[in-house]
Amino acid sequence: MAGIKELRLRIKSVGSIKQITRAMEMVSSTKLRRFQDRAIASRPYSEEIAGLVSRLSSVLGDDMEDQPLFAPGAGDRTLVLLITSDRGLCGAFNTNLFRALETWLAGRDVSKHDFFVYGRKGAQYLASRGRNVTRFITDPPMEEIDYHNAALTGRMLTSEFAGGSYNDVFIGYSAFESMVKYVPQIAPFLPLTPEALGGGGEAPSEAIMEPDAKSIFESLVPRYLETRIYNSLLESLTSEYASRRFAMKNATDAADDMQKALKGVYNRKRQEGITKELLDIVGGTEAVK
């Protein structure tokens, strides 16, 4: 019988792929939940910091513009922190971010951009394009990132900026909007602008400042930047797993459909074979009579 054996093999292989994709879907679901919980848990902290920043910046008023991180850097280069994923099989998650990056880069002088990268996919992409990757952050692996490590990265970016060879710093990441919507974006990180800090919050002018508003603000700003990095990382990871879960669900469904279609063909062929054999037998007995 032509093809019936091959058909059986294909049905089997589609079935095992389906098992794998279903397992990956399940793994992504649990990881997604974990990162979502962490994102929710970190929210009060970043809200509190952002609130303090905005309240203090209205106390400081115009003095704020003298702060070192508020003026464009001395250099003429641009630093971009790109947050991607380590692994593939997550739909268009990385591709969308790369596309957004290319659109953003169009019209800019690419040779004046340096990159810090999270995630192997991003490093591979930038390397293949011949972009200038200054640092590829692999330690710790993306999934084990905690606030402390995000803070280190934040400090690294800030000191690069303060070092004087950069004009500004951006973060490219996928913002998590909903389970099915992740918005790739390149957001300005440094220099800070009073608008970005949400200045104009209610001014607690009568509040006691210990030691004084300026020094509190100075130690507050680095923390604010750290929370931005941490949140971007968490959002990117959440988006990645949401995207992967979605992609794997689609793959499982497609495998299901394919298996059904193949089974149909297989059964028809099998039936055909049986009918033919039956006809042969009947024909044979007729001839013997």
Binding site: S42, Y45, E48, A207, I216, R223
Partner: protein, 140 residues
């Protein structure tokens, strides 16, 4: 009745404490500050040390390191990087960290080494010593 002041200790990982109490004291960069009911609004940069609170349920304490405290209308919000109840402090790790920091300071200070490293070692020594103090005070 619950205490007149509500206290929230917030870290990047979670809200570590959300309770009410009658008095709180925490370390700022310029020394310890106590807060009672109807305290004037205040924003303070926190130092390293022990956050103490007195409530109906008795007294309790927590090790904190760095961050900020905001007092407004009988609500105290402590935003800190590290907060550990005394029972969670890893004494062994703290004493090892203290040793390491001391060793680093000895080699650095004599040779007038890098400024930042000295600062870092000092901060880590301060943290380690405070951890040990808080732990030994509340554990037996």
């Amino acid at each position: 009745m619950a205490g007149p002041i509500s206290l929230r200790v917030i870290t990047p990982e979670a809200v570590a404490l959300d309770t009410t109490c009658s008095s709180i004291s925490f370390p700022t960069t310029d020394g310890s500050v106590g807060v009672l009911k109807d305290h004037a609004p205040m924003v303070a940069a926190l130092g390293i040390g022990e956050l103490q609170l007195r409530g109906d349920a008795g007294d309790s304490a927590m090790f904190i390191a760095g961050g900020f405290a905001e007092v407004r209308e009988n609500v105290v919000r402590v935003v800190t990087d590290v907060s550990e109840p005394p029972t969670d402090i890893d004494v062994e790790r703290a004493s090892k960290a203290a040793e390491r920091a001391r060793a680093r300071l000895e080699t650095k200070e004599s040779t007038e080494g890098e400024h930042l490293d000295v600062l870092r070692a000092r901060a880590s020594l301060a943290r380690a010593i405070m951890r040990q103090q808080v732990a030994s005070k509340y554990r037996r």
